[in-house]
C-alpha cells in the first residue's frame, strides 16, 4: 500500500534577493522561471490535503516574492493544513505579516546568516541583517509561532555562541542551528563551506551547555553535519514515505535536493494529478521501501532507521543514486567523505546568482 504523505514543501519561486553561497537550490535556476499559477498552486494544496498531508511549508527561493502567498496560505489553512513560512524575512513589514496571519499562517521561520551585521551581510551578498532583526521582532509580538534559523558553515561556525546569545536577546523560543547540507550551490561551494572538525566539536559543546541553561525557555534544534557522523541522515524518513516537494515549475520531487540525481525523471502537476504522481511515478517508486537497497544496507539492522541515507548525496559523490550514502561509515565509498572533510579550503565561496 502506498504510504500517506504528511508534509508538502511548496517551493513557490527560486527568485531571491539574497546570494547565499550555501543555498541548496539547483545551480540551473533559469530552468525554473516558468512558475505555476495561483490556480495551479491552489490545486496542488487541495490535492495534497486529499492525500492526507497535514503540513504545508512555503519556501523558495524567497516565497514572499510571490504576490499570491496570502491567498495560498488561506487555501492551505482552509483545507486544514498547518502552514509554515520559510523566509529570509526582508519583506515582512507590518502589513504583509498581518495579512498572512489573518489568512491563517501558523509558523514563521526566519533565517539569519550570522549574528553580526557585517558578517551576515557579507554572506548574504547584500545589506539585509538589520531588516531581518526588525522582522524577527515583529513576528515575535504577534500571534504566530516563530523559529530563528541559522545555517552553519565554516564562514560562521565560530560564531555559534553569539547566534544563541542573539536569540536570547530577541527572546526567541525556538532556534534551529542546521549545519549546511551539500546540494545545489552549497555542493558547488563545498570546499569553502566545509566546517573543520574543531569547529564541529566546539559547536557541540556550546549547544549542549546552552540547552541545559535555557531548558524550558528556548528549544534548540541542532542538526549535525552528516559528513562528521558515523551514520547517514535518514533520507526523508524513507523515500516517498512522508514528504513531497513541488518545485516552482510544478515538478514533484521526493526530496528537495532530488533534482541533483541526473537520471531521475520527475513528473509535473501541469500534466498529472499530484495523487497519481505520489502513488505511481517512477521517481517516487524507485527508492521506496528497502527492496532497492544494495549491500551493506540490505542486510543492515539500521536499514529502516537510516533508509540507506541520502539518495542525492549518494549520486553526487558516487554517481550512483542507489549506492549506500558515503556518509555512512559502513559504505565502501566512505573514504570520499573523509577526504572531503579534509579538503576544507580557505577560498571564498561563490555567491548564488541566477
Amino acid at each position: 500500500m502506498t504510504p500517506r504523505p504528511l508534509s508538502i514543501l511548496c517551493e513557490l519561486t527560486y527568485r531571491c534577493n539574497l546570494q547565499c553561497p550555501y543555498c541548496y537550490n539547483p545551480i540551473a535556476l533559469s530552468e525554473y522561471r516558468d512558475e505555476l499559477s495561483t490556480a495551479q498552486w491552489r490545486r496542488v494544496l487541495l490535492d495534497a490535503s486529499a492525500l492526507g498531508v497535514v503540513q504545508a511549508h512555503f519556501s523558495g527561493g524567497e516565497p514572499t516574492l510571490r504576490a499570491d502567498l496570502p491567498e495560498l496560505v488561506e487555501t492551505a489553512a482552509g483545507a486544514g493544513l498547518y502552514t509554515n513560512l520559510i523566509t529570509q524575512g526582508t519583506f515582512l513589514d507590518d502589513d504583509a505579516l498581518d495579512e498572512l496571519i489573518g489568512r491563517g499562517l501558523d509558523h514563521v521561520q526566519i533565517s539569519i546568516q550570522a549574528p553580526a551585521a557585517a558578517a551576515a551581510d557579507r554572506i548574504a551578498g547584500t545589506t539585509v541583517h538589520e531588516k531581518k532583526l526588525q522582522a524577527l521582532r515583529r513576528v515575535r509580538e504577534r500571534d504566530v509561532a516563530l523559529t530563528l534559523n541559522c545555517v552553519l558553515h565554516r564562514q560562521n561556525h565560530d560564531a555559534i555562541g553569539e547566534v544563541i546569545a542573539l536569540a536570547e536577546r530577541l527572546r526567541i523560543t525556538r532556534l534551529e542551528l542546521a549545519n549546511v547540507q551539500f546540494y545545489g550551490w552549497a555542493y558547488r561551494n563545498r570546499t569553502a563551506l566545509m566546517p573543520t572538525l574543531e569547529q564541529v566539536r566546539h559547536a557541540e559543546a556550546i549547544v549542549e551547555a546552552a540547552r541545559e541553561r535555557l531548558r524550558g525557555r528556548m528549544e534548540i534544534v541542532y542538526v549535525l553535519p552528516d559528513y562528521f557522523g558515523d551514520f547517514p541522515k535518514p533520507c526523508m524518513n524513507g523515500w516517498g514515505s512522508q514528504f513531497l516537494t513541488v518545485t516552482p515549475n510544478g515538478d514533484v520531487l521526493p526530496c528537495p535536493a532530488a533534482a541533483a540525481i541526473g537520471d531521475l525523471r520527475f513528473e509535473n502537476v501541469r500534466s498529472r494529478p499530484l495523487g497519481v504522481i505520489w502513488q505511481s511515478s517512477e521517481a517516487f517508486e524507485r527508492f521506496r521501501g528497502t527492496a532497492w537497497m544494495p549491500e551493506p544496507c540490505r542486510s543492515c539492522d539500521r536499514r529502516e532507521l537510516d533508509w540507506g541515507g541520502c539518495r542525492c548525496q549518494a549520486f553526487l559523490l558516487t554517481g550512483d543514486a542507489a549506492a549506500t550514502d558515503p556518509a555512512c561509515s559502513l559504505s565502501p565509498h566512505h573514504a570520499i567523505v573523509t577526504a572531503l572533510r579534509e579538503e576544507a579550503s580557505p577560498a571564498e565561496p561563490i555567491p548564488r546568482r541566477a
Partner: protein, 85 residues
C-alpha cells in the same frame, strides 16, 4: 503549567476524517491516543485541569487518581516543549 491550560503559539489540534487526532506543532505532528485527544480537545484557556481530568474519567475506565497523574505528566511534557502554556 497554567491551571486552565491553552495552546502555545503555532500549536493546534487536527481531527482527521478517519477519526484520529493529531497535535500539529512547528515542524512536527504528534499522533494522539484516545485519552490525550479527549483531554486536549478541552484545552482552550477556560477548562480547568480538574474539568479535563473529569472528562477523561467520564469517558474511559480509569481511576481519577491515575488519570490526574497521567494527565499531569503529559501536560507537563507538552508545557516543557512550549506546546501548552
Amino acid at each position: 503549567m497554567n491551571d486552565s491550560p491553552r495552546f502555545g503559539k503555532g500549536v493546534k489540534l487536527r481531527r482527521d476524517p478517519d477519526g484520529s487526532t493529531m497535535l500539529l506543532v512547528p515542524e512536527g505532528a504528534l499522533v494522539l491516543n484516545g485519552v490525550a485527544a479527549v483531554a486536549l480537545e478541552l484545552v482552550d484557556g477556560t477548562h480547568s485541569m480538574a474539568q479535563i481530568v473529569e472528562a477523561v474519567v467520564d469517558r474511559f475506565e480509569v481511576a481519577p487518581e491515575r488519570a490526574r497523574e497521567d494527565l499531569q505528566t503529559l501536560f507537563g511534557r507538552l508545557t516543557q516543549r512550549g506546546f501548552l502554556q
